[in-house]
Amino acid sequence: MNYIDSSLKVVGTRPIRPDGVDKVTGRAVFAADTRASGMLWGKIKRSPHAHARIVSIDTSKAEALPGVRAVVTSADFPDIASEEAFVGEGPMNFRDLSLNVMARGKALYEGHAIAAVAASTQAIADAALELIDVQYEVLPHVIEVEAAMAPDAPILHDDLFTAGVTPAPTKPSNIAKVVTFKKGDADAGFAEADVIVEGRYTTQPVHQAYIEPHACLVTYAPDGQITIHASSQGHFMIRAYTAKLLGLEMSNIRVNPAEIGGGFGGKTLIYLEPVAVALSRKSGRSVKMQMTREEVFRGSGPTSGATIEVKLGAKKDGTIVAAKQVLKFQAGAFPGSPIGPGCMCGFAMYDLPNVDVVGYDVVSNRPKVAAYRAPGAPITSFGVESAMDELAIKLGMDPLTLREKNAATNGTKTHYGPTHVNIGFTAVLAAVKSHPHWKSPLKEGHGRGLATGFWFNIGGESTATVHVNEDGSIVAATGSPDIGGSRASIGMMVAEVLGVSAQHVRTVVADTASIGYTFVTGGSRVTFATGMAATQAAEKVVDELKRRAAATWDIPVEAVEWKDGMAYPAGSNAGAFEPLDLASLALKQARTGGPINAEVSVNAQGAGAGFGAHICDVSVDKETGHVKIERYTAIQDVGKAIHPSYVEGQIQGGAAQGIGWALNEEYIYNAKGQMENAGFLDYRVPVASDVPMIEAVLVEVPNPRHPFGARGVGEVPIVPPMAAIANAIRSATGLRMPDLPMSPPKVRAAIDAAG
């Protein structure tokens, strides 16, 4: 069924989330909050070198330390074959994942796991790590993307040959892949252009910086049954990858989804669980592992840093006739940067006749990148939306007008092929135009920037069950970890279909043995795909409830209608019966056919794309180079906001992460290829006093593929901020900041250089 034009009672309201009380009272159980009888502490020894051959590992001294129960190295893991898989960010290889979890033969980045111990206390485990003697042959390393592409660069993988070029290369390279997209004839387009702008931009890798470090608790029982409590964006993902990396059968692994303390894409990969299983198997004891903050930075995935070249050509009236982009993305130590979406998202907002995009996926001696909100899109858009601003300036045109003139609408053919359908970009731009922020005069000394963003959003596999309890209350269970309020949105959709209040539905996240397969919480898919499954399950329950009422009244089921949580006879012909509510129907469930439940699994397709536009005002301290965000407005097409507060929260949080990416966040390496700022002191995420209120404006252009019209909302808001801020700085100072982060030293240097 489709409820897009229905009058809704629950969807669109702002009830208190089902898991809220647990989370404000400290009761919510995150992975590190779990314990097991006889539990050991597991810790990982990590490479201090950016690139080194592992000559030998002597664990004997560590094993001899009293209290140490197990030590593992790559020798304790199967040497698995190359096999392509698809994980959060995109395609990757299980062999690479295995090598990332535990180095074999070579350490490829500082922080790469080399060995692990399990001991009775954390202090003993720490002492044991120091007793593991690893002999390295240090190799030349390479950190920056263009250095890694150079012909004489140190090669990370002897078996990596560039894909996507002909003829197939015969020499190994750090360039894993070349991707190209072409539409029309870009050179011909530029030849017709009246105005051309060109720029080179760079972005730094940034970490998802969830506040909860990765953690898990694992028990390997003597019969081979494994129980895992883990914080992740997908407990089925944990099960699958753990099984794969250890050569185990999935039915022997049960993963309980602990509450997850933020992920933003970074918890769509595994790091600890296979190691903890190996330690537990070897020691015969439960093993708890928890990364330190430093390990999170050094050993888990940030997103790519990149260089971005953009060239735009336009007619005098602002019509863009040609666009070109070259993207070079760091993948970290293994292939798999988000170069594909990087190449697709930059120009997806615009209707462009001639486009030429080339992208490179490049390995270097950094941690393997992991997904981070709209992977690839923020990077590519920083370049494109900065260039759009330059083009507007050169044309003497308002930046909104330039975007309106070239905006993609339904029917626009994208440069990567497909034609846009059911998109709301023009509605977003109209909302910018009419917003008080956009119309307000600029304060003295302030600058204003505008930038837009696009993300595909995804659907995929989800399972949901809806149970009618014996008293008529409702439980909805899904396989989607709740990372930011999805229990609320799922429960609300179920409540809407059943015609009950949100409080009547308790939503839970079920473990891998208790519900059907569900893909990770990522790509902004849960409210869309899992919501679709839950809605359909609720509809099946309504059908069943109607049958039960029909059985009670002894009338045909077609003569029963369901309204406001009750069964009614449909019209006077059906008979004169008092309506039956959920409690009455549940009370008689045994007599009318047994328990009333439904489970629905879907592979949801047709996730509607999301578009956003951000307006940002800044002031710049010209002596220190400090940029202050004075006002921020984020406008986005969300399809339909199921729980508007949590939709706004996604947008505000994404924007704040973008502000951090824009102004201060970066990985700082020393000459040895070691990270210098692996902590929250010097990896500077925004604090409360760094940001103003962030006004989230919800534009609702329904997505016809979803029963309530929802689109994914969590990814788009991190796409525009970097360019919006750069454009605001340009407006305030006249200076184009092409390199992220736009930190005070860089801004001051730019001011000085301009004289």
């Binding site: 995109g90 395609p91 894909a163 996507g164 892949k177 594909g340 997904a371 497909p418 359908v421 898919r525």
Partner: protein
């Protein structure tokens, strides 16, 4: 016969010798994969593992049953993940 366009110049084109447009006798995504594999050994697998299909602007990932109609706009693009 539906016309299919291989939109990305990535690994896919190495199987086709650079060809990007095909007429394929197929009414579903699954049949398309099988036909492509037959015509260009390795390409079907490549599409299956790392590509999605966009039919008239809507993106389908992992959907064998997605219906292909003559006259539809059909693109094979990189599969999309997310954060």
């Amino acid at each position: 016969m539906p016309k299919v366009v291989l939109s990305s110049g990535s690994a896919g084109q190495s199987f086709t010798g650079g060809q990007t447009e095909f007429e394929v006798e197929a009414t579903t995504f699954r049949r398309l994969i099988l036909e492509l594999e037959k015509r260009f050994p390795g390409l079907g697998r490549q599409v299956e593992e790392s590509m999605a299909i966009a039919i008239d602007g809507e993106i389908f990932q992992d959907a064998y049953a997605a219906e292909l109609k003559p006259g539809s706009e059909i693109y094979l693009i990189p599969k999309i993940g997310g954060g």
